[in-house]
Point group: C2
Amino acid sequence: MPIKTNDPSKKSWISVDSNSDFPIQNIPFGVFLTRDDIITIGTRIGNYAIDLGALHQLGYFDGIPLTDDIFLQDSLNDFISDGKKTWRLVRNRISEIFDINNSALQNNEEHKKIVLFTMEEVEMQLPVLIGDYTDFYSSKEHATNVGTMFRDPANALMPNWLHIPVGYHGRSSTIIPSGTPVHRPNGQTLPKGAETPVFGPSRLVDFELETAFITTDANVLGEPIPIEEAEDYIFGMVVFNDWSARDIQKWEYVPLGPFLAKNFASSISPWIVTLDALEPYRTESPVQEPTPLPYLQQKGSKSFDINLEVDITPENGEPTTVSKSNFKYMYWTMAQQLTHHTINGCKVNSGDMMGSGTISGPTPDSYGSMLELSWQGTKPVPLANGETRKFIEDNDTVTLRGFCIKDGVRIGFGEVSTKLLPAVTIK
Amino acid sequence: MPIKTNDPSKKSWISVDSNSDFPIQNIPFGVFLTRDDIITIGTRIGNYAIDLGALHQLGYFDGIPLTDDIFLQDSLNDFISDGKKTWRLVRNRISEIFDINNSALQNNEEHKKIVLFTMEEVEMQLPVLIGDYTDFYSSKEHATNVGTMFRDPANALMPNWLHIPVGYHGRSSTIIPSGTPVHRPNGQTLPKGAETPVFGPSRLVDFELETAFITTDANVLGEPIPIEEAEDYIFGMVVFNDWSARDIQKWEYVPLGPFLAKNFASSISPWIVTLDALEPYRTESPVQEPTPLPYLQQKGSKSFDINLEVDITPENGEPTTVSKSNFKYMYWTMAQQLTHHTINGCKVNSGDMMGSGTISGPTPDSYGSMLELSWQGTKPVPLANGETRKFIEDNDTVTLRGFCIKDGVRIGFGEVSTKLLPAVTIK
């Protein structure tokens, strides 16, 4: 277990603000464009992006079995393919290099100039080439809220929900990093009481507060991943906004599920936080009753205490935090999701992404979407500037954050922040 | 228009059997492993695979703007990215090189030794790296049959079906080429009358007779593809068996659509037949009533007269043709599917694949799945060996074929043939 790297007393020679998500206990992985327009794989401590490609060329990873160009790539896929043992060796070495008691790089001004960038000097990219993206639906509170609104409050959960980590396939090509704006989608919707649909911009654009995990090559076609091994194939997590157009969704989704209502954009935070970094924040997941089928039965604490928040910031306005939730509310764990996904022999590759589904907590201020927060628009959500929101309006920016706090250490994901632009005009 | 390459009187100096799907009028594109274990992009005439990488190195594509290594790749994605103008130049040139009146390669024994392989000498691979795979549900007969079986015969079609080319996202990682066997999937199913699910091998494994089209880079995020341009972004088509586990599907698919019931395997034919090759076989698609919304309205013949057939071959038995259908029965065209897919700004990339959905014709012998052919198992389908099938049994091989015939010319897709192996044992 990577106890040393997570030691709360550990300090880096890079000064880190106490509110930062990126102390030396974090060491996330990402991809960025440097001030010299070079793309590289890196990590972050405090307000500094660290060029791992350059560190490797300078010999700081000597002794770890890595190819020469493993960090000089535009995605983490190959590094993730190297497997958990290698991820851990690299993270441990980074932890050593930047330890306040290690002077090697600390006192080498020439190397520091090559390796360190302030966050203002870099442009974060999508960290992985995502081959396949799956979204689950694993928050009982969210599934219950949606079932209550659209079906029968007494039978809000579908009969399969307590037996299956329900999931569906999403679209990889429209997963974008924090900072990339999104246009309000056009599409077909059925106006209330109408019998034929109309075409135009969606009127009900929503965020979904989610996390997602990134996998490594986990199996061959036809072979499932046993639940006790599942976490070994999870590289790390990001915070994820699964943009949704509720009116398009309502008209299109029966019987084959959401499609254009979801695939116009899905935004992720650019730093992947490893499961090793999250280790101190493990916590129990909700009791599962009925007991799942044997292939889904797990031992130990398989969830994590990750605080999640959502801000809405209107154009030229200040942010309002509209939701505070937590990853620990998830009914189905990531291990259960991954094992279920492969129980039929489905192949999982390096860089695949699996979303949690909207993470709603038990109280109305912890709901993970405007659909729930405004209860289908019946309870407008107040903003700091005196306005209200039922759904997201043009030029609003939606910002999701995730962070863990324990023993005086805060580690986090940073944010995924996305501006909703007006719809494009269809000629 | 590529009239010359499709001229029915055109002959190649490679002799082609009259029943072959691959006369000089076809010129499909694929990827294969040669007898020297080299992977290359190629085409096919008669029983010969032609190494386009070698042809290019020998100068046969001089004058066409191609990078040196465009055919020395393990997928067609980069070539497809080059766009329609380039595909056409290359196909026209191949048509010239192999024309019976062209002696350049015909009389160069040394070059022929390098360039030509019999089909027995090569191993066909997946032709593209599929980034995203979408499956539509565009046969009215199939949707009506399913709706009749599972819902109300009087209201078999969902209210959205006549307005939307209904589609959903599938999984790319499990798309496999013809010849790769598939294990019967394990999974959760709900026995009749039971309240809790059981775990084990699916009992209702089915094929789905489909075609699929492969796209090129078509748009930027946020911009739709107008319907009059849509066909320009379709590189070509394959025949596609969308393996399905009906009992897993029934239990899992509400409300978010099919997932593990579909993603254990999807098999495609290895040669991509271009739209240029299919041009002579254009035909009208069914009249659409009600008229679709303006963004889906198209002019001209947007369908193709492609005969489709399905064989079931039991272990050590002879094949029985269980279905004869046709692509022209599709209610929604490929152009409508692609335009609808991007109307919300969804980005489409080179190598993306879009399935038609099961293509059922109007008569019971033209249905595109065992679910329909055996009408949920109530009408067992007779095989040549005296056995019957309600669904696919272990060690059966399912073979799908597609071909067009007109003016004495037959062009086709070859076949996608897949053996169903028994389920793996879950420890």
